[in-house]
Symmetry: C2
Subunit: 213 residues, 2 copies
């Protein structure tokens, strides 16, 4: 069986829980408690040298980085497809996912927030403002890209969830955790509600995880 | 003809210059001067709502986000391949590229450095230490992943350059710009030298660009 190393509140692990659920794949979960620093233990670092979650184990294969994992899952279990059938559509879905994966999440994640606190003395309100700033900047772009394009329908790209939705919805959860005002993002909010009504998204949510504290 | 909006010193644009050169594709370049804020002009933001480079134009198609662009180019012009032929190899190459694209570059890029200066008063030495910290953390992981795996040969994955090399070499250029000590990264340094000896990489380098100041 597939094994997913994750953490209930990691939005990168949440993406892969959604992907695996959408594919209907069974997987065992192993919790790496990021707040207690379990990601830095040598046994886990052997699986994930960057000391991040998620890591997916498929037999002998050890897979790192959420978008690489999503692409692997898509290639190995093509149904139902989580990328569009056309090259331009795939590029659009990947670009939406990458805005989350590159331009929002890494700047507001646990490691950067811990670093600005310990090395630069940011207090909790300053850390919250920092996270809000970077999420808002990325969401401004995503909202524009979604609202102007007719390929945005119930979901980010058409009438079926794609990798773009699997990456966006965990980031919306982070935005709520940092109390970001979502009023400027009506398309994101609408798609978030549509996705969260689906069982594969609901089962993947932070609060649905066995390790949720 | 393909048109690439970039900037000589943008490592994300540099990745796509390498990819297009490796594919032997001709392309017109348009410089978006990031230091002068040209990325925020409405005409460019219509092409790239996040106000970043690169953007690739292929006929009517407007493509954002460097890894999405690289995947698009790989699908549209498969030869020579820049991803391995097997799913596990593709996952490894994508994971290496994503450590650069997600976990290193966004945290040390122009927008974050400008923000920590203007909003938080970081001076030049503090900005340099910030950039060094995040590049070193990512390079520690990449060096481990490269050094321990027999699929690392002349290049990151085998005897031909892949997307992993196209992403790594621009990040090494950034590391040198921030005066990071590369002694702990002998495998990265060796692969960097091998790549930079190739014409497609040399022609893509920062200092080879017409807009290099």
């Amino acid at each position: 069986m597939l094994k997913l190393y994750g953490y209930f509140r990691s939005s990168a692990a949440y993406r892969i829980r959604i992907v695996l659920n959408l594919k209907g794949l069974a997987y065992e979960q192993s919790s790496i408690h990021l707040r207690r620093g379990e990601q830095f233990k040598p046994a886990y670092r052997a699986l994930n040298p960057l000391a991040r979650v998620p890591t997916l184990i498929d037999g002998e294969r050890v897979l790192n980085q959420s978008l690489a994992i999503a692409e692997y899952v898509e290639e190995r279990w093509p149904e139902p497809p989580l990328l569009p059938g056309d090259a331009a559509g795939r590029a659009r879905v990947r670009a939406l996912a990458l805005i989350v994966a590159c331009d929002i999440h890494p700047i507001q994640n646990t490691s950067v927030l811990a670093y600005i606190e310990t090395a630069h003395g940011f207090d909790e309100p300053a850390k919250t403002r920092w996270a809000q700033h970077w999420i808002a900047g990325g969401f401004d772009a995503i909202e524009t890209m979604l609202a102007r394009d007719p390929t945005t329908e119930t979901y980010c790209h058409g009438e079926r969830p794609t990798v773009a939705d699997a990456f966006l919805i965990p980031q919306v959860a982070n935005a709520r955790r940092f109390a970001l005002d979502l009023t400027p993002y009506p398309t994101i909010v609408r798609i978030d509600a549509a996705c969260r009504a689906l069982a594969p998204f609901a089962a993947a949510a932070t609060e649905s995880q066995p390790d949720a504290a």
